[in-house]
Symmetry: C2
Subunit: 182 residues, 2 copies
Amino acid sequence: MDRRQKKTRDAIFRAFIYLLSQKDFEHITVGNITDLADVGRATFYAHFETKDFLLKELCAELFCHIFDSMGKTNGHTHIFECDAPDSVFLHLFLHLQKNDNNILELLSCRNNGLFLEYFKKNLLKLAEDQLHLFESPKNKSVPRDFLVNHVASTFTETVRWWLDNGKKESPETITEYFLAVL
Amino acid sequence: MDRRQKKTRDAIFRAFIYLLSQKDFEHITVGNITDLADVGRATFYAHFETKDFLLKELCAELFCHIFDSMGKTNGHTHIFECDAPDSVFLHLFLHLQKNDNNILELLSCRNNGLFLEYFKKNLLKLAEDQLHLFESPKNKSVPRDFLVNHVASTFTETVRWWLDNGKKESPETITEYFLAVL
DNA sequence: ATTATACCGAACAATATGTTTTGTATCTTA
DNA sequence: TAAGATACAAAACATATTGTTCGGTATAAT
């Protein structure tokens, strides 16, 4: 990739992330981003179709970053390194905790549910493929569809709660809570 | 309330609801609404500060409509007619099923999570006050905060799943599923 | 060194927002 | 029913944002 492209791309992402810490996604304009990134507005449109695509790419990057560090993604299916169901969740919380810059918070906090929406949608895909890893320990007499959705929802909403409350609990503790109600 | 006010207010709501069935909330403009409602654009702003306030009022109306039909709201606390925990949920699903016009679907379906966000937020308030009605039958060794959030989340996400899948299950069945995983 | 291309700056039309003004119609109430 | 209040329409307004296009310049790859 052209060095110039990477530079402006990064600048746009940096500006976007900063702006997300200042205001809601809806109130950020393309002009805001390009001013801060110090690139022409036309350049933005050369890189991203719309603001929403920029967001989507950021979410995808964050999502991949989290899951790549705990397994390999071959094509469309993700192969986890750990096999024990509960250790999958613990690892997820561990990786969610140590996200360096606060991108995770910016995309998930009180007003912006953006990333978590993306998160759940993709978690759902994973859970459909590998329910055995995500499955609740208890036997539930409900349709598989419903159960898959429930596991993905409960995990996502637990993450949301955890983040909204300032990540006070340790990954171990929050995993414990999660498994207790699952 | 002035008869004229009520007329335009209703016209705006009607137009808004129709437009929600045609496109996403974000792509609806004030002009769209006032054109369809056949009122001046300035009139819109005399009634609603912004588009978002209109949405909020519609959500509030729908929420109240659902909960008023199964109890009384005194000030800020809601008193349910039924006392058995599980019958509260069944009644909720029953009331959610029989919403006449499809407002519920419009505000909750795949693309618009708008109402369900509002729904969860207010359900949370109710659950905090009257956890005994919403509590899971099982004893969970998790903090009260977490449990309250979990119950509200699980219910909301069950509703979302139910609506997204076309409300195929009867209220009784979906209540059963919900209680099975709670 | 040459060729390709990423970028800038500026301009562009099109659309949306939110406010203001003036005149008219309709309501309330006394 | 008459008088005063007010909700509304129509139109104009300044401002902001979007998405595209253009020629010129700088910086890449080879």
